[in-house]
């Protein structure tokens, strides 16, 4: 396998040719927040948090899908990238309902980690307080749409690893939402094997196991 050398923020690293730039960042000891990316799942480049500036490219490129090539020079820390990353995280916090203090994922949440990483101390865009729902129809798990950031990890893990195709996205734009089966209560979807992989890969508290929810607010169906 060919090996290429490239520069990450002035550090020279060697990685196999063609691997995603995220591997080069890891080799250089540079960590970037990622929300849609999961090492076991196909990349979708949707969260735009791993954007890096590549010398010669007209616009920033996502490190999760851009292939490493010989001689690339990339930067991860320009003011424009940092400002963009921070605003994107703020947009996520404003888009859904994320009161960390009452969230089951508090302290174990990749969205929280991303906020800490970008130094978010204020959400500068207006909170939208959307009216969303909780799907408590599954005997083992809960789906709280308020906390869903539409990263599609659950969709991909169910499709690519479990092979059950329970999850999909419906509608578009800000009306996009996660649906189970043919847009039916999760608990009524026959193809769900209750494997829990979607819960395991969910970066936030949107998909959780009932046993992790301390008080039984949502009765088991």
């Amino acid at each position: 396998m060919a090996v290429v050398t490239l520069q990450v923020n002035d550090t020279t690293v060697a990685v196999p040719a063609g691997v995603p730039l995220l591997q080069a960042l890891a080799a250089a000891g540079v960590a970037l927040p990622t929300l849609c990316h999961h090492p076991r799942l196909s990349p979708v480049a949707a969260c735009r948090l791993c954007l890096v500036e590549l010398e010669g490219a007209s616009r920033p490129l996502p490190a999760c899908v851009t292939a490493a090539a010989e001689g690339q020079r990339l930067r991860t820390d320009t003011p424009a990238l940092q400002a963009g990353r921070r605003l994107i995280v703020e947009l996520l916090f404003a888009e859904g309902n994320h009161p960390c203090a009452v969230c089951v994922a508090n302290g174990d949440c990749e969205l929280q980690d991303a906020a800490r990483h970008v130094g978010m101390d204020l959400v500068s865009v207006p909170y939208r307080h959307p009216s969303r729902q909780v799907d408590a129809s599954h005997p083992l798990f809960l789906l709280d749409h308020h906390r869903c950031i539409l990263c599609s990890r659950c969709v991909r893990v169910c499709d690519e690893i479990e092979g059950a195709h329970v999850w999909a996205m419906a509608n578009r734009g800000s009306a996009t939402r996660l649906i189970a089966g043919l847009d039916q209560p999760w608990g009524t979807v026959d193809s769900c094997t209750s494997c829990g992989k979607c819960v395991a890969v969910c970066p936030t508290g949107a998909l959780v196991a009932r046993e992790d929810v301390p008080l039984g607010r949502w009765p088991t169906p």
Binding site: V44, A45, A46, L91, E95, N171, R172, S174, A175
Partner: protein, 544 residues
Amino acid sequence: MRDGETAPVQLRLCDASGCRAAGAGALAAALGAALEGGGGQGPRPRLKPVGCLRLCSHGPLLALDHGGASALYGGLTAEQVPTLLAIACNHPGGHDGDRDPRRRALEAHRLDSHHPFFALQHPLVLETCGLVDPTDLDDALAHGAYRQLQRLLATATPAQVRAEVRRSGLRGRGGAGYPTGLKWDTVALQPPAPRLVVANGDEGDPGAFMDRSVLEGDPHRLLEGLAIAAYAVGARHGYIYVRAEYPLAIERLLRAVVQAMERGLLGQADPATGFAFVPELRVGAGAYVCGEETALLASIAGGRGIPRQRPPFPAQAGLAGCPTLINNIETLAALPALLRMGGEAYAAIGPAACPGTKVFSVSGSVVRTGLVEVPMGISLRTVVQTMAGGVPGGIGADGGIKAVQTGGPSGGCLPAALLDTPIDYEGLRALGSSLGSGGLVVLDHSCAMPELARHFMAFCAGESCGKCIPCRAGTVQLADLLERLMQRRATAADLDLIEQLAAVVQRTSLCGLGQTAPNPLVSTLRHFRHEYSERLLPDEPWLS
């Protein structure tokens, strides 16, 4: 007119969507009934439904051909039919009936074909649009359809066809302006494997109807262009993706495909080269984002119309991983004329950097709304003022025009002071606008620019696919902040936030929709900033 010589008297009635909406159906029925019932002593005129006759605002349009002469009428109703037929049968263009009040009434509907709106047009893409019956293959063949395809199959290799297109300097008419020959080479030179061609007819920009007019008026021209492209890149199969909102275009295109397949013009192996091309029609499901090429491919493949990160570009890995050539309808429809005249002759039209002609759909606050095909490099003023006539009742050097919106939700606004800008891709981009696919919306002084920006931002927020965060959440926030500004509740800090957000959405969004969604906002901020600042609340620094 060539057609006039073979058919002594014919009535070409515009049967495209615009004129149908203006009452072409009722006029056709009246004409049909009158012709059926006889009347008039001369040879019976032939009624021929045709595609767009260009001046949509004056529809329904009808051209009367008699011998070499042609007269164009606009806004006719059933009432004028007897008088019209009397002229057609007895005294075409004659003046002996001038004292007849009905003839005078008809003359009032006659349009001046020497007006700049018609005289400055340079039809290549639309050269037979309005002349041929879009439902009649024989008529299309009589007007030269498929002749270039057959000539190239007999005399040129695919590499020679590509070289000719490279020489022409043709650039993609969908808006990005990517050199067509280069794109063809990229597809053709991929490692051996099946290739596919796709015609992008998902024309979704508000105010754009160029591709629709081609599909409704001259569908065989598109099929010929697509087949030529397929031959040039080595594809045997292709898709034509048309948005569902174009039912008439779909109907005519489908009929044209069936006609061409039955006649063996498409679908059967060419005896000399063995080339056989099968086109397939795909109808969109109403998503604007499907005009973006990777979303379009996802939609053709049966998935959600969601874009993906490029590279790999569709030219490298598109449908089913095959190298896929995606060209806009207008680009493909330019090919028959381009290849007939030769690359060099085509390159001589317009500026060297982007030669050829471009079809524009002019609408908004203008006297003459419609379709124009003009050489690239012509000034915006010539199109919207000299040809389209500026704002109705408009006064002043700029004809009452405040700005021209080009390129729809992904384009921008140019103020009247910049009307002398020549139309080309780089020129408009340098001024913060973009050529886009060809929609020109003329704005008068009653239009508030922040409101226009809000309108387009709300459009993009509604059409965002929802995949990437900057576009999905950023456009919504921008639309709301602009709404707040229009209600005079926004502060200077809000305007700062608007600009920051716009920059991030442009720079970080995944596909062209998000990357260009802030363009109307950014360009109006650039040219009409005072309209934003005058709507702000007074500064209250202790509240920030």
